[in-house]
Structure formats: structure tokens, C-alpha cells
Subunit: 157 residues, 2 copies
DNA sequence: TTAAAAATGAAAACCATTTTCATTAATCAT
DNA sequence: ATGATTAATGAAAATGGTTTTCATTTTTAA
């Protein structure tokens, strides 16, 4: 197995074990899908993608794993307003870029953007600090989303 | 009826009619609750508050009205992660202040903050403009939330 | 004052997510 | 190794917020 190609028995084994979790086949399959996919997968999306190769992994396990991953901070859970949660791999060693979302309120299309991210993040950090102090919150996360009509839905009106 | 005290047959009558909706008793009751309440009511919260005075108004109507109000931009719908949607009156003539949210991921407590709002909103406006152009989106709204542990939940750990 | 359109409540349906529970697989102590 | 614990799992059932359906009532338009 070529070095550098750390797929399969990846870096996350340690993260799991460290927290008392076991890295099973099913979980690994889910992680694999998530790490490769370009964001925004629902639990069922993941289930569908895994099923051909791992018919043994049930939807329940997908949900359960997603919960664990979420609590470990390895995936982020989003709500884009279409009634199902979406999951996105937190940046791993491959270094997916930090981004925010632009959501079409009509067709639910989601665009990841990185423009302005730096300014946003900088302001966010300041705000986080200030808010944390004022309200005695231990802030761990933030969410920014813009809503509107995408090019297509705009035209259709 | 004293001028200025426009409760009861308020300003929103026009808004409704203008869009082909009818301002019924139930809807008015819902609007009334929403406009007075300090944000973050769930559909059931609203139902409960209305029920004593208007036992005839069902939960279904609450949901339906909330949908209408939402589409009219009169209320904002939020998801704070506890499985039920929360609704907040958009600023009306009373001029509720624009604010963002600070959400405790443990107890789901929500704090409205207005600190830093100006800077945030300014940046947001810029970003909105830039994104709108680049992605041909007609941006109508944004969402900013911070997540973390509130003072209490922090202590309990 | 009648006809068409909207709004409504109650009950049923929906449907993403959770829970239950009996079984299996992984880890640990010996 | 080898049981003994503990975690993970799948299937099926339960949950619970939200939506639909449908028959009825209310409101508006003609």
C-alpha cells in the first residue's frame, strides 16, 4: 500500500478509539463516502451510496454513525429547509476549504461559496469572542447562510 | 378607539388583502400573539397561548397561518435544532430590533443579541451584493447563528 | 342572494428520525 | 487463547412534528 494513500485505514481510526468508539466496516464506509463526496448528503443519500457495496449496513446505522461523527466534530449537520438534515465532512487532512452556504428557497439548491470567507470569518471570530464574554457562552461553532432565488428559479417567476 | 393604538384591526389587514388572503379571527389571534411575544415560539406554543381565548382555532390552522405569514415575510422561521420550528415576528411598526441568535447546543436555550449587529449587517450586505452578482442569486435573507454551551450547561460538565 | 373561492377543524397520512430488542462482533481481563 | 463485557447492529416498531385530505363553514365577488 503506497504511503500517503491513507484511505481504508485512515487517520480517523485514532480519533474513534480515543473516544471509546470502534471503527467498524459500516462506519468506515460512511466516512469514506462523506470524505469523498462534495458535501450536502442526507442520511438516505449516504445509505444509497453505501448499499451496493455494503448491503448489510442499514439506515439506522447511518443515522447512528452520523450522530457519533457529529459529536466528534468530524461532520457538520445542516438544515437547508427541505425537511431532511444534510451532512458535510469537516475538513480533514485533505483540507476541504471552509465555506458557507447559499440556499435557493425554491428548489433547495445549495451553493458553497468561499468568497468573502476571510472577512466573514474574521468578523465572526471577533463577534464570537465578544459574545462569549458577554453571555458567558462557550461558543464552538457558527452558521452563516444566505437565502434567495437561484438563477433558474428567478427566471421561472 | 384611541388613535395610535392600532391593535385589533392593525396595519396587517392591508398586507393580507393585498395578497388575496383573508384576515380571519384565528389569523388575527396568531398575529397578535406573535407580535407581542418575545420571539422563538413553536407552533404548539402559539396554539397553547391562543387556545384559552379561541378554543376554536386548531393546530392545523396555526401551521397554515404560519406558512402564510412566512411567505409574506411577516414572520421568520428558525430551526434551533430541537426538532421543532420556531417562529419570530419580523419587525413590524413597533420596531422590534434586528438581532441574531446564540444557541446552546445542550439545553437549546436561545439568546437574542444585538451586539455587533451593525458590523455584521454591514458585512452581510456587502457579501450579499457580491454573492448575488457572482452566483446570479436574488438574495432575500440571511441567517447567522452561534452555537455553544450556555453558562449553566458549561458549568454542569 | 347566489355562485365561486378561501379558510377551517378533525382525523388520517406522512416521513425523517429514534427507540427497542434480540443478535452479533469487537475488546478486555485472565 | 477464551470466556466475559461491552459496543454495534439490523429489523421492525414507535415517535412526533408537520401536512394532507375532505367535508363543512365563512367570506368575497357577481
Amino acid at each position: 500500500m503506497p504511503r500517503g494513500e491513507c484511505r481504508g485505514q485512515g487517520w480517523w481510526h485514532g480519533k474513534f478509539r480515543g473516544c471509546g468508539y470502534r471503527l467498524t466496516l459500516g462506519r468506515e464506509a460512511i466516512l469514506d463516502i462523506l470524505s469523498k463526496a462534495e458535501g450536502h448528503l442526507s442520511a438516505e443519500d449516504i445509505y444509497m451510496k453505501i448499499h451496493p457495496k455494503h448491503p448489510g449496513v442499514g439506515l439506522t446505522t447511518v443515522y447512528r454513525t452520523l450522530d457519533v461523527l457529529s459529536s466528534l466534530g468530524m461532520v457538520y449537520k445542516f438544515d437547508f429547509g427541505d425537511g431532511r438534515s444534510r451532512y458535510e465532512f469537516a475538513e480533514g487532512p485533505k483540507g476541504a476549504h471552509h465555506h458557507h452556504h447559499l440556499v435557493c428557497t425554491q428548489c433547495n439548491k445549495v451553493i458553497d461559496y468561499t468568497d468573502f470567507i476571510d472577512e466573514e470569518v474574521e468578523l465572526l471570530n471577533q463577534t464570537e469572542k465578544g459574545l462569549g464574554q458577554k453571555y458567558k457562552f462557550k461558543i464552538t461553532n457558527h452558521l452563516i447562510q444566505f437565502y434567495g432565488l437561484c438563477e433558474k428559479c428567478r427566471g421561472e417567476k
